[in-house]
């Protein structure tokens, strides 16, 4: 038995700083992939400006033409007035849906148009989700630190027509700071960062003093070194009411990863094979602890036989 065909796949925004050509090439591949929804835009650092607004809109048009649903994502940590102005201009776009990643964006969009809340908007309970629904939220991305149990509980009181999206693959966004840790690693101040994060297409690995990969520095963002991988949970997710599965881009093999998830959803690949393949495609291992109610970094072994028949 496989997950239902109406579960959609989405591709989250690129978290890293890639040069313009790389971004264009990346989305040309994405346009040909079996992804359903694509989130576009800079969500981490406002100093990353190689991609201009027109560039993003050009990619948006290309993806729409290829039959993809396009969503414009917005900055997560808003500090300067210049960042607010930029946010306002994105929120005025009526062509595409917007993903709010900060309450400033929520305030700009609430009551004016339907929108989507990203993983950094704290929706931890049904009362919050229902309030957001009344403000015009039509889809929410489940916060990464919460468990399957919590999601199932919230979805029992799910507002009508609310879509639920869960990050199922990729390094997890864990924290945002005023400080740029990439600049710090080069002994530079943020105001003179020299956009040094462009050298790290998957972020900069931070290891413990025992050399265990631990976290990833990505400018002002800190990510998990391990990639979250919930491929074994697809059937269960469908049962509790998850509508969309989000994959987070990485510099290599994103198209393959999309295909693996797509094949699993369509019964063309076994979960076991998919799981093994994803392990080899993740830069520094995988984890699924948050989903199972534990520490995010943990890997809980799944009984694949059970998960395939939907009795976890």
């Amino acid at each position: 038995m496989t997950a239902s065909l109406n579960t959609k796949l989405s591709l989250g925004p690129i978290q890293y700083y890639w040069d313009r050509d790389t971004v264009f090439d990346f989305y040309k591949q994405v346009a040909e992939s079996p992804i359903d929804i694509v989130y576009l835009g800079e969500t981490v650092c406002s100093k990353r400006r190689l991609m201009r607004d027109e560039d993003w809109l050009e990619i948006a048009a290309l993806l729409r033409q290829a039959g993809k649903e396009v969503v414009l994502s917005t900055l997560t940590l808003i500090e300067a007035n210049s960042e607010l102005r930029k946010l306002k201009s994105i929120c005025k776009n009526e062509e595409y849906a917007i993903e709010a990643n900060d309450m400033a964006a929520v305030n700009l969009l609430a009551g004016k148009q339907t929108f989507i809340t990203g993983p950094a908007i704290n929706i931890y309970n049904a009362r919050t989700l229902n309030l957001f629904a009344r403000q015009g939220v039509k889809r929410w991305v489940f916060p990464v630190e919460l468990s399957r149990e919590t999601l199932a509980d919230i979805l029992k009181q799910r507002p009508e027509a609310m879509e639920t999206e869960v990050i199922v693959y990729g390094r997890l966004p864990l924290a945002f700071s005023a400080r740029c840790f990439t600049a710090r690693s080069h002994n530079l101040q943020k105001d003179d960062c020299q956009l040094s994060c462009i050298a790290d297409p998957d972020g900069l690995l931070m290891k413990t003093r025992e050399n265990d990969p631990f976290l990833v520095i990505n400018g002002i963002q800190t990510q998990s070194a391990k990639s979250c991988n919930l491929i074994t949970e697809l059937e269960d997710m469908k049962e509790i009411g998850v509508d969309i599965l989000r994959i987070s881009p990485q510099s290599k093999s994103t198209a393959e990863i999309i295909k693996i998830f797509h094949d699993c959803l369509h019964g063309k690949k076994s979960i076991q094979d998919a799981s093994n393949e994803l392990d080899t495609l993740s830069p520094t291992g995988t984890c699924n602890g948050y989903w199972h109610g534990g520490a995010g970094m943990e890997s809980v072994e799944q009984h694949l036989e059970k998960s395939r028949t939907g009795h976890l």
């Binding site: 940590l77 929520v106 704290n122 009362r127 309030l131 948050y290």
Partner: protein, 338 residues
């Protein structure tokens, strides 16, 4: 919204009744406290208030003209929802002067059930701009917002000027280098975070081990740091450990330091900041005494003569003694730190 009377309120931590009394006696305009469970962001063993203590503390503060705020500033999940709702009801019935809230659902409940009770947006609410604060003002009529420790002085000035409600900023204490309310590092390692559990790098996950290389500090088995014999080992808050990046081992995120904005008081006052918050409900009554006393003097001095204000040496020395790592920083207020 700028505070027009230019008197900044001193808001001090009260982890227990002795601390509350000491803070009040040493000039706190307001104290903030929490209940003995995961509904507040200092959910530590032996800390916080039961019913009887809360009643006594509130009476003590009110008799002496100080206000009491209750922090209910973590994020409930459905299985625990009732606890947060009860905490709101409980605080309201006790007659506290304001609730400090983070979760939108809890705020929605509090605003509906207790429409006359003052609501403050907690730093855990993660609002860093006037636009974000506006959401909470519009929907829940909040009366004050505490802003995260990620803003520069210039940004604080801009938010204060444009915010629909008065602004409270952190003046002293432990420094979060990540924007509060959106930091999951602790739960990534331990399963418990400030948002879900009310603690960062919780003590139950800490391991100390003496080895040949020095004293190892671990959090759920992850090595946070090793301290040589000549180094003092602090609590292993995970963002303040030493890690390896590009073959360099250093404090990759932040050193073990405390925030101290005492030097900026005239600027904060001029910007119209309404209140200065002192961190440290988990600290001892002796810390609360020292810090409340020194900050009371500093605030009074900055108010009387802002042009000639300078932090006195003895104040700074007193604060250094109680600071994490015996070091202080202006943190994000000072742009080069970023």
């Amino acid at each position: 919204m700028s505070n027009t009377n230019k008197t900044m309120e001193l808001v001090c931590p009260a982890g227990n009744l002795p601390s509350l009394k000491i803070a009040v006696n040493n000039g706190a305009d307001a104290v903030y406290m929490g209940f003995k469970d995961d509904t507040n962001a200092r959910h530590f063993a032996g800390l916080n208030f039961n019913d009887k203590r809360a009643q006594e503390g509130i009476a003590y503060a009110h008799e002496r003209g100080s206000k009491v705020f209750t922090a209910i500033n973590t994020y409930p999940q459905p299985s625990g929802w009732q606890r947060w709702q009860d905490a709101v009801d409980h605080a309201a019935q006790l007659g506290v002067d304001a609730l400090i809230l983070a979760d939108i659902g809890v705020m929605d409940y509090a605003a509906e059930r207790w429409p006359d009770l003052r609501l403050h947006l907690s730093v855990q609410g993660s609002a860093t701009s006037q636009e974000s604060i506006e959401f909470f003002h519009k929907n829940f009529d909040i009366k004050r917002a505490v802003v995260p420790r990620v803003l520069s002085l210039k940004q604080i000035q801009a938010v204060t000027e444009n915010s629909p409600v008065p602004i409270e900023v952190f003046g002293f204490g432990s420094l979060c280098v990540m924007v509060e309310g959106r930091c999951l590092l602790s739960s990534y390692v331990t399963g418990q975070s400030p948002n879900t559990f009310g603690a960062c790098s919780p003590a139950s996950a800490v391991q100390w081990k003496e080895t040949d290389a020095g004293l190892e500090t671990r959090l759920n088995e992850v090595l946070i740091d090793i301290h040589g014999k000549d180094e003092s080992a602090g609590y292993p808050t995970l963002c303040k450990g030493r890690f390896n990046v590009n073959n360099n081992t250093y404090h990759a995120l932040e050193e073990p330091t405390s925030l101290n904005t005492m030097a900026l008081l005239p600027e904060l006052q001029r910007a119209g900041v309404a209140a200065i918050k002192i961190e440290g409900r988990q600290r001892s009554p002796a810390y609360v005494e020292q810090v409340s006393k020194v900050w009371r003097e500093a605030l009074d001095s900055a108010q009387q003569d802002p042009e000639n204000y300078q932090p006195k040496r003895e104040w700074l020395e007193a604060l250094d003694k109680v600071s994490e790592g015996s070091q202080t920083t202006l943190g994000a207020y000072h742009r080069p730190w970023q």
